[in-house]
């Protein structure tokens, strides 16, 4: 089962390992189809074409496979979905909890992965 978005879906822990090891810059939003998560998926879809150097993906929060994100040390204390993870060369460089605006997402992407490729 996957989320109802046009993003790449990470369905298993093995998928997650593959995507963060095969891509230098990765943003994964782990959430549900709810009011705090959907705006973040929509932002990702909206800006995906601009950030060709970043791999955008989502993962179902309620899947047992998402333990790779739910149990990550970087999300300890998080009390709002989605949990959004930013990976560079397989390492977490930033993690956020709850809804984020396009400006907030862009600021994190620009700071950690570089500005959109013209």
């Amino acid at each position: 089962m996957t989320l109802d978005t046009n993003l790449t879906h990470v369905e298993t822990a093995a998928d997650w390992q593959k995507i963060i090891s095969e891509n230098e810059n990765v943003m994964i939003t782990c959430g549900r189809m709810g009011p705090m998560c959907i705006p973040v998926y929509a932002v990702m879809e909206q800006i995906e074409s601009e950030y060709s150097h970043v791999k955008f993906a989502d993962m179902m929060f309620d899947s047992p496979e998402s333990h790779v994100i739910r149990n990550a040390p970087e999300v300890r204390g998080f009390m709002g979905i989605p949990f959004v993870m930013y990976y560079k060369n397989g390492n977490v460089v930033k993690a956020t909890s709850s809804i984020q605006s396009e400006d907030q997402v862009r600021a994190i992407l620009n700071e950690n992965f570089g500005e959109p490729v013209k």
Partner: protein
């Protein structure tokens, strides 16, 4: 840059206007504030949109966006607040360093959930401050939490959160609730729910996560810290119209008044969707209003184009 019509807002009203205008061969710019689809994208299932048995708001907005683009509408996402200048037969819209002009403008900026806007709210969002009980309720299992608000959502969600939390305290600024009596009765009969009336939250605080809120008792003026491991804010919606207050008259709720052609008090500026003064807010009403606005704007635009 010159367009025929500029639409401000990319929700169902803005996208519908874009579809009608671009099909009418008008060079149309949609300035999208936030994510395309507006509040509609949050609707899990839309089952009352004629001709479509069932669809998610997310999918419907994606189709509307593609439809508008396929007819030639340009959609730009903006992060700065637009400023409209009425120059008679031309309207200018400034967004940051960019300036666009058109014969007519359709306003469809929609609405957004209201936030408290107090110290610490942004800092503790996702770390104890939440706006969705269904999304985040489980993170507050066994905690002492507060719910802010006095409408149907606040009372209903307080009951829902009592399944997880040890204790739920409803903080409300008035001495009575706006919620339906049935919701109030259900909350009052729940032993886990307590009430603090005529009180506002002035600050959220904690060490890395929310631990306490600063209460301001309106009647006595006394302020005191209240221990809370979570805070859920349900204080309604507001139209995204603050940027219009210098160019248009807004009512006391910040809504835009329109006539039967969906034209505002300023000739050549039309409005549709959740930001206008009206009783019912549905995807279908937004789409209908935008259709009228687009047809009226289209007629005026063609007239102005032929005269200038």
């Amino acid at each position: 840059m010159q367009y025929d019509v500029i639409v401000i807002g990319g929700g169902p009203a803005g996208l519908t206007a874009g579809i009608y205008l671009s099909r009418a061969r008008l060079n149309t710019l949609i300035l999208n504030m936030g994510v395309a689809g507006g509040q509609m994208i949050l609707t899990h299932e839309i089952a009352n949109y004629p001709g479509v048995e069932s669809i998610s708001g997310y999918k419907l907005s994606s189709i509307m966006k593609k439809q508008a683009q396929s007819f030639g509408a340009t959609i730009k996402t903006i992060s700065s607040t637009p400023e409209i200048v009425d120059e008679g037969h031309l309207k200018k819209v400034r967004v940051g360093e960019n300036s666009y002009s058109a014969y007519t403008v359709i306003l469809a900026p929609g609405g957004a959930p209201r936030m408290l806007g107090v110290k610490g709210e942004q800092e503790f969002k996702g770390l104890g401050v939440s706006y969705c009980a269904t999304c985040d309720g489980e993170f507050f299992t066994g905690k002492n939490i507060v719910v802010v608000g006095g409408g149907n959502s606040a009372l209903e969600e307080a009951v829902s959160l009592s399944r997880y939390a040890e204790k739920v305290t409803i903080i409300h600024q008035f001495d009575h609730f706006q919620a339906f009596p049935a919701y109030v009765d259900e909350a009052k009969s729940n032993p886990k729910i307590k009430f603090i009336m005529e009180t506002e939250i002035r600050e959220f605080a904690g060490d890395g996560k929310l631990e306490r809120v600063l209460l301001h008792h309106k009647k006595s003026g006394i302020e005191e810290w209240f221990n809370a491991g979570g805070a859920f804010v349900f204080i309604g919606y507001q139209p995204n119209t603050a940027f219009l207050k210098d160019i248009l008259p807004l009512n006391d709720r910040g809504e835009i008044g329109v006539n039967a052609d969906m034209e505002t008090a300023v000739q050549g500026i039309y409005a549709a969707g959740d930001s206008i003064a009206k009783k019912y807010r549905q995807v279908t009403t937004a789409v209908g209003e935008a259709t009228v606005a687009a047809l009226a704007a289209s007629a005026r635009t063609w007239e102005l184009k032929s005269n200038h």
